[in-house]
């Protein structure tokens, strides 16, 4: 781990917050219509209805906030999933959340000709929640209740099933593919502030909940038996983790479509920086996830200008080299 003393950890959190703010400001200013500091400030203080001001208020600002919120949620959900399943490869996707959300949207487009993006969002959340609850139920069969192994296997099977149904619908209906391909790749462009406002209650509760149970998760990470011996109600804590993951990852899918990778990578990177104590890992990985997604979203505007690349693609392109570097250096935190 990079930061060993408590002071340096606080400093680390502070640096991450500053970086996040800088990236968000950059996200508001730069893009196809380049603006500058002054215009950005004027857009809020001396709004005059010019093109730049409209773009900043209605397009750029919501986008920066949605990217940050989604990035933070996915990263935190990833931490929770990796601890719950005791598997370093786990991500919110293992809960079937991306696959379920994707399936709900694609089914709506192909079978019921839904085209409205807001309906997409609601359906995605619904699909994600249904998939996650069923995975949780299948993983809890039997005397021992929820075990990491059963959860992982049930989740992998259900995700594969939903993903293949999605593929099937898309193969049968080529016109729909064109319509939802961009959504399926994950994107934060063209979202209005209402999108954020509608999911913020869920993910806000999720963030708070994650911070509150972070101490208990340290105990759970020591293993089922030890945790029980120390007096932790493991059944309850697992259900809470499940609910929080659904809120966070479901909200993210609803707001931005299925964005992979952030949920797997950011927790690993965070642990290599700050160690394995969940009370530090959860806030820092939230910040790093937000930074990654905001940065990816900025880059996504420049690659194919004037067209945009889905942000899910950019997170992979930016994140992979960094992730490989960390993986080679070794995860000291674990």
């Amino acid at each position: 781990m990079l930061l060993k003393s408590t002071t340096s950890k606080w400093a680390g959190l502070f640096v991450a917050i500053v970086l996040l703010i800088l990236f968000m400001i950059a996200s508001v200013i730069y893009g196809y219509t380049n603006t500058n500091w002054q215009t950005a400030i004027d857009a809020f203080t001396k709004y005059n209805g010019s093109n730049e001001h409209i773009i900043i208020q209605t397009v750029r600002l919501p986008r920066a906030f949605i990217a940050a919120a989604v990035g933070a949620s996915l990263a935190i959900a990833g931490v929770l999933m990796q601890t719950l399943t005791k598997n370093p490869l786990a991500s919110p996707g293992i809960f079937g959340i991306n696959a379920g959300g994707g399936f709900a949207v694609v089914a709506a487009v192909t079978l019921f000709s839904v085209t409205d993006v807001h309906t997409f969002n609601a359906l995605a959340f619904l699909g994600a929640a249904v998939a996650a609850v069923s995975v949780y139920a299948f993983g809890s069969f039997g005397r021992e209740g929820l075990t990491p192994m059963k959860l992982t296997l049930a989740g992998a099977a259900m995700s594969a099933m939903f993903a293949s149904f999605t593929q099937g619908l898309l193969v049968l209906n080529e016109a729909a593919l064109d319509q939802v391909l961009f959504w399926l790749a994950g994107s934060v462009s063209g979202r209005k502030l209402e999108t954020l406002v509608s999911v913020l209650p869920y993910i806000g509760v999720g963030w708070l909940g994650a911070l509150l149970i972070s101490g208990k998760m340290n105990v759970l990470a020591m293993g089922e038996d030890v945790a029980k011996g120390l007096g932790l109600n493991t059944g309850l804590i697992k259900i809470m983790i499940g609910v929080i993951v659904i809120l966070l990852a479901g909200g993210s899918v609803a707001a931005a479509g299925p964005i992979g990778f952030v949920g797997i990578v950011v927790p690993h990177v965070t642990r290599s920086i700050i160690g394995i104590d969940h009370r530090w890992v959860i806030p820092l990985s939230g910040l790093l996830g937000a930074i990654l997604l905001v940065a990816a979203d900025i880059a996504a505007r420049y690659i194919l200008m004037p067209a945009e690349v889905p942000v899910g693609v950019m997170t992979a392109i930016i994140g992979t080299p960094f992730f490989i570097y960390i993986a080679r250096r070794g995860f000291n935190g674990r």
Binding site: N87, P88, L89, A90, I94, F138, F141, G142, R143, E144, M149, K150, T152, L153, A154, A156, A157, M158, A160, M161, A163, S164, F165, Q167, G168, L170, V171, L172, E174, L177, D178, L181, F182, A185, G260, F261, I264, V265, H268, L304, A307, V309, P310, G312, V313, M314, A316, I317, G319, T320, F323, I324, A327, R328, G330
Partner: protein, 351 residues
Amino acid sequence: MSKYQNIRFFKGKLSFLIDRKATFIFTLLFVITFLVFVISAGIGDMKINPLTVIKVLFGGGPEMEKLVITTFRLPRIIVALVVGISLAVAGGILQGMIRNPLASPDVLGITGGAGAAVVAFLVLFSDKNHSLTVSIAWLPLAAFAGAGLVSILVYVLAWKNGVSPIRLVLIGIGISTLMQALITLMMVMGPIYQASQANMWITGTVYGSNWKNVVTLVPWTVVFLIIALIVARTINIQELGDEVATGLGGKVQKQRFLLLMISTALIGSSVAFAGGIGFVGLMAPHMARRLVGSSFGALLPVSALLGGVLVMVADLIGRTLFLPLEVPAGVFTAGIGAPYFIYLLFRTRNA
């Protein structure tokens, strides 16, 4: 009655321990595989009675049926069977080698590499009228090259005084995501015609397989399957952990490289001819584990047959149920496999 049956030859100079339960299940699955094969060859636009199919398989039968079965159905069914076997065995090897139940050809990026190569092939060699400028026969080669390159890349990047399973799989995930990103990027940028063609390939289908494919695919697969069965016992030792395996005299790094290369060869050839059929590589080994336990001598053959049956049935459903539409086999592998797997999970819930 003990769990194992000892079989001796040459007054004990050559002997085997045979797991009774695994042998029984293997035999049962073998019969099921044969039945599915025969039934599948008989179903389609033209229904053919299973007895006639068997006659045709042995060279007899009426001319018309013979034509339909041998030229249209057999190559396709054989490719489905072989692809299912390859993916299941490769998945089983990877899970044992990496010691992680989530390991599969997709996770290591091998399928993704093949996919990126295929989509790049479609983009690079298409002219303005959306027709390919080179023969489509090169497509399998592109897929195989993609799979091979990515697997070597992952291995090299994961090398640091040897390759540890966790580093291998984490770097695999990174590369795999990168490949998915490249695929999406090319599909979003390219014309819609290519997107749907590429999507068909990514889903995985054995549509349009011919005898030429079979002749290329089968010998290759058989060779690597035999090698896989011979080295399977080293996986049992590897599963105990690197320290124990080294202590027991296993050449861990060398075996690991060998196992990765075998899996790549099997995965590469199957994605080359059938595209990215998912689920089989991940789930067939788990199904087998729930049926016969986790000793690889029994696990690999059983998961091989499960994989073969799964892909054959998926293709049968895909080409018959939605006539006149053809649904790619890759859609149904998970569609029929997942419920069965959940059932197995439920049945062994207290194990």
